[in-house]
């Protein structure tokens, strides 16, 4: 019989982020599908009581807490030690965790330590005849596999956006403390902080309704034989401001940034979508001045409605990659889109 641990960590403010609540839904659904599996919740953080209280009525058998100032910091050595201690304390055979950078950093190492297995970027959990099968993508979202494993514990790291976050009224949870042995070696690395652009310059918005992708065409010579990079920046930033869209880029555009050419100053490798970039989840996506080649469009796997503006009617978007391809000059179109959006505001 399987038993489940939902392994979560708190954020710097002690709260649980949306992916954590989604993982809780996934764990509870899995337990129900398995029939009589018990769910424990394991929490890692500086202080986990407040987070446990938020999910107190979720129906967990036990709340296990690995807490302390050093466990509030994201760091491989301490997070792996805490996860290991919680999994051992729960005796779980299945561990459901959210695909956050903090979990993703340690899942494989912890599985190795416990003699188990880990799978990440899981998009589906199914139970057939009492046996668990998972769905995940291979070759950068180009094919989907269903697989199962014999080794336990099996750490299941679930991608965000696949299930709804758990909701419920807060309560009062009794957290059983789990001690974590930290050696001096675990303190060789230290977390210094988080570096991010100022709030008004942050162009990556994972929760946005719309993904706006800018391709290298924005920086190329236009019909008049000149580049218009400052105009492109103005148009794109205005559009992002009006729509609160998340900005993505093609590899060719962000590579130009790395080569020191005059480019969109706000575009970095973090914005890159595709083979060597992100695969974000947004309901809609609009690509501009981007050819829609396969290495880029694999990053669009989880973007539902897709439209593109490109001057080339035979670009990649025309070949089944977008719902609508507008054959037009993106400078002209986006200027007019911004004007219409300004009127609507």
């Amino acid at each position: 019989m399987e038993s489940i641990l939902c392994l979560l960590h708190t954020e710097s403010n002690g709260a649980l982020a949306r992916p954590a609540l989604e993982a809780l839904t996934a764990a509870k659904t899995l337990a129900a599908d398995l029939g009589d599996a018990m769910v424990d919740v394991g929490l890692i953080g500086a202080d986990v009581q407040a987070a446990a209280d938020v999910i107190a009525p979720c129906g967990a058998r036990r709340f296990l807490g690995a807490a302390g100032p050093e466990l509030g910091e994201p760091r491989y050595a301490t997070d792996a030690a805490a996860a290991e201690a919680l999994i051992r304390a729960s005796g779980a055979t299945l561990v459901v965790a959210p695909q956050t950078s903090r979990v993703a950093r340690v899942a494989g190492g912890v599985a190795r330590r416990l003699g188990g297995s880990a799978d990440t970027h899981i998009t589906g959990l199914q139970v057939e005849k009492g046996a668990l099968k998972i769905a995940r993508w291979y070759y950068r979202q180009r094919m989907e596999a269903t697989l199962s494993r014999l080794k336990r514990p099996w750490i299941l790291v679930v991608d965000s956006g696949c299930v709804k976050p758990w909701e419920g009224a807060p309560g009062k949870a009794r957290v059983e403390p789990v001690s974590v042995e930290l050696t001096e070696a675990a303190r060789r690395s230290r977390f210094l902080g988080v570096q991010e652009p100022p709030a008004d310059e942050q162009t990556i918005r994972p929760e946005a309704e719309l993904l706006f992708v800018a391709g290298a065409g924005w920086t190329k010579k236009q019909a008049d034989g000149h580049t218009h990079v400052p105009d492109a920046e103005k148009l794109i930033l205005e559009f992002l401001k009006r729509t609160q869209a998340s900005l993505g880029g093609s590899k060719s555009l962000v590579d130009i940034s790395g080569e020191g050419q005059a480019v969109l100053h706000f575009m970095t490798h973090l914005n890159q979508i595709g083979q060597t970039g992100a695969t974000p989840r947004h309901p809609k996506g609009l690509a501009t001045c981007c050819h829609g080649e396969e290495p880029h469009t694999v990053g669009w796997r989880f973007v539902n409605e897709r439209r593109a503006v490109n001057r080339d009617p035979s670009c990649g978007w025309a070949r089944g990659k977008a719902d609508v391809l507008y054959v037009a000059d993106a400078f002209e179109v986006m200027e007019k889109v911004n004007a219409l959006l300004a009127k609507q505001d």
């Binding site: 190492g109 269903t146 490798h269």
Partner: protein, 270 residues
């Protein structure tokens, strides 16, 4: 304080991203149709890791780079023709499948065994580099397991920057959720760094470096040990291509105003 690092860059090969991929069922499990015929490249994030290793080796004289690759050696030889011109390295080859359907734990065991077999391995100078996620399996778990086998608990994933401070410690930027970077410091080697794209452009081909490397690459390929990938734990039920094929509506007769109106309405529609 300058340390002569031993930098092991773990990197497999993957089909060129422009190739069409079709899954097939082989006796050993899922595979790619005509996998041995598909043009291959070094895994993209490992590619960046190699450039970063080269930069670090230049700034820390006496450092040495080893490229550790588990791949069919005939295929790897083709890929090395271009990789060899980018940075000076010794190649360590494990002859085995480059497939994304292999188990990351089994791959990690093979990679760590290959690292441990290199004469003169010094844990105090050891840095294990690689891509944070491959373009095949994309699990991001292999390097972690390599680190665990080697006893390294200073691990960083999604690394975009590594700076060596004057006291020999590292300052590391890792990608985290929401387009941010986590800043950490580490006392020094040994450490595992799974690279994202880093900050370096692709270096130009250097035929001289290529010639130097090829002298070591051919013998390394010849003495490649076969991989023993034991993964009875894992079984695949299905591997399928996505069914969704969009019927693209190509709009080439509308004016910019009309297109803008359509887009603005589409954006506002919930």
């Amino acid at each position: 304080m300058s340390v002569q690092y031993q930098i092991f860059v773990c990197g497999g090969i993957v089909p060129d991203p422009l190739q069409t991929l079709d899954p097939v069922t082989a006796p050993a499990g899922p595979a790619l149709k005509n996998e041995m015929m598909l043009p291959a490249v070094l895994d993209p994030f490992a590619w960046h890791a190699l450039f970063e290793a080269a930069r670090l080796a230049r700034s820390s004289p006496g450092s040495k780079i080893y490229l550790v690759s588990l791949a069919p050696k005939a295929k790897l030889q083709q890929v090395m023709m271009s990789v060899a011109q980018k940075a000076v390295f010794d190649l360590v080859v494990i002859d085995g499948p480059a497939s994304g359907f292999t188990d990351s734990n089994a791959v990690a065991a093979a990679l760590s065994e290959a690292i441990q077999s290199v004469p003169g391995l010094d844990m105090n100078r050891l840095l294990v580099f690689g891509g944070w996620e491959s373009a095949s399996r994309g699990s991001g778990t292999t390097l972690q397991a390599v680190g665990e086998i080697l006893g390294i608990t200073d691990q960083f994933q999604g690394v975009d920057d590594l700076r060596i401070e004057s006291d020999g410690s590292f300052r590391i930027l890792e990608r985290i959720d929401g387009g941010k970077h986590q800043v950490s410091t580490c006392a020094g080697a040994p450490a595992v760094l799974g690279w994202a794209t880093g900050n370096l452009p692709e270096p130009p081909n250097n035929p001289q470096i290529g010639m130097t490397n090829m002298r070591g690459i051919m013998p390394a390929l010849q003495k490649a040990r076969p991989a023993k990938l034991n993964a009875q734990d894992l079984s695949y039920t299905s591997v399928t291509l996505p069914k969704q094929q969009r019927e693209t509506r190509v709009v080439d007769k509308l004016s910019a105003e009309e297109i803008a109106r359509e887009i603005a309405e589409w954006i506002k529609k919930s």
